[in-house]
Subunit: 280 residues, 2 copies
């Protein structure tokens, strides 16, 4: 039922080596089994048909609701989709990512200002703060904090996950499919399930801590050199996994360089407005 | 060094009772020690001067970088602030929340499109995707996923935390203080440290799962009744903690009702634009 009780001797060094590569390991301090879970994360894009134990969804949502929420506003909701036809539409929206139709649990995480809006309507007051981009951002951030707790919970239980940001390729189609009222948008999806053996990829290396962690002020010194070292690390990683070899720089270029890399997401502002977020 | 190894017998029921109240406990399934950590979260607003063990910051950041990041873009950074004068300014921005000057670790989480922007400049290509609200949202969400992993890591080590969304009261002052380049904004702060005994509050109840978790389609049935039951739960909670008694409905009304409840955050759009986020 838990893999957090396994011994951690040596696990810290192993975990840091996989995450940063052997030459960029940070001088991390205290460690425990929960950190093994956190450091061991990798996104999994292929699931078996094995169901999850009864009550798993409720466990994950209890973890999600335990995350902080700005001023306890609770401006997020989550929608579980099992219907095969609906899963198929979601897969189409997300550039045909097949795992959306495979995983025993699929969750749509919703930035949701409508619940508080209905409250105000029922009680006869006005929420002047609702139309602002700040309030949309609170909802999106709180949905992310909640979802990440669900991910940690799932992975601590030996399950695997992958976020589906590509549901933002067409938020209006998703909203129509899930019958979302105005003031609700699906900010991302999440697959949860048992990984197929061949999809259990290695932990993906990240930029060295010195490239993303600053002290007292923002600092770009040595940044280009750090990026080149990481490019080499990522080339080796992609080589080990028999994908087409690419550097991190090339990856960012293909994703953010030409507008077509955004798969329609450059239209997000118009979509949000049509879904009831004025973004004032 | 770890509190995740403690036995969990009975812990599940206790944790769910505190989080939902005795009458709204969900039928949660599998459980483990990491779930005890997740369910046990409460925001702490008062810290002792006790330092954290050496390497704690690096451990938290390793956890943060292990969270998923959209297309591995890594569009977030984090800035540790120890300088007392800078902490004081951050406290002022955040409605004088004194814990910002107390906690041994204070982190500013940054949505950061500038690093990828500098990469493109150095390598002589253009990132057409950078100016879009979608890309800002990716950065903010990825910062949130990362920060939540750091929070879970800290709490698994027996430390406490509180997010400081109020740094968005004046993002331009924060950016100037921390010397952020264009394309970087602090989306929230985070205190990490040892709770003062008197600030260890009880776990705060949340809305029942049936009010925020939907199946196949969005569903508002019975919503007003669920809210009233939760209002009663929150009144009892605030009574136990000798704060002024309020319902959840009253709390939301005071925070989002009049514009002054936003403490300047209704100007976020203009601030983001001035910081180099066109929000196209």
């Amino acid at each position: 039922m838990t893999d957090t009780a396994r011994p951690t001797a040596g696990a810290k060094t192993d975990a840091l080596k996989l995450r940063y590569g052997p030459s960029a390991m940070p001088a991390a301090g205290p460690w425990n089994a929960t950190l093994d879970v956190l450091l061991g994360h990798r996104s999994v894009r292929g699931y078996t048909s094995e169901p999850v134990p009864a009550g798993t969804l409720e466990t994950l949502i209890a973890a999600a609701q335990s995350a902080a929420t700005s001023s306890n506003l609770q401006t997020w909701s989550v929608l579980s989709v099992n219907d095969a036809a609906k899963r198929k539409v979601l897969m189409e929206v997300a550039n045909n990512q097949k795992h959306i139709t495979e995983s025993p649990i699929f969750l749509c995480w919703l930035a949701d200002l409508s619940r508080n809006g209905r409250m105000a309507e029922q009680e006869g007051f006005t929420l002047e703060g609702l139309p602002y981009i700040e309030t949309f951002l609170v909802a999106a951030i709180d949905a992310a904090l909640a979802a990440q707790n669900a991910v940690v919970a799932a992975e601590s239980l030996g399950l695997h996950t992958v976020y589906i940001g590509a549901l933002r390729n067409d938020p209006e189609r998703v909203a129509k499919l899930l019958e979302l009222p105005p003031g609700v948008v699906c900010v991302f999806g999440l697959c949860v399930g048992h990984a197929r053996a061949e999809t259990k990829s290695e932990v993906k290396p990240r930029l060295p801590q010195s490239a993303i962690l600053f002290h007292e002020r923002y600092d770009t010194s040595g940044e280009a050199e750090k990026r080149r070292a990481y490019d080499a690390e990522m080339t080796a990683f992609s080589k080990r996994h028999e994908m087409s070899q690419y550097t991190w720089t090339e990856r960012v270029k293909s994703r953010l360089g030409p507008l077509k890399g955004m798969s329609g997401r450059h239209k997000l502002k118009a979509a949000l407005r049509s879904l009831g977020f004025p973004l004032s």
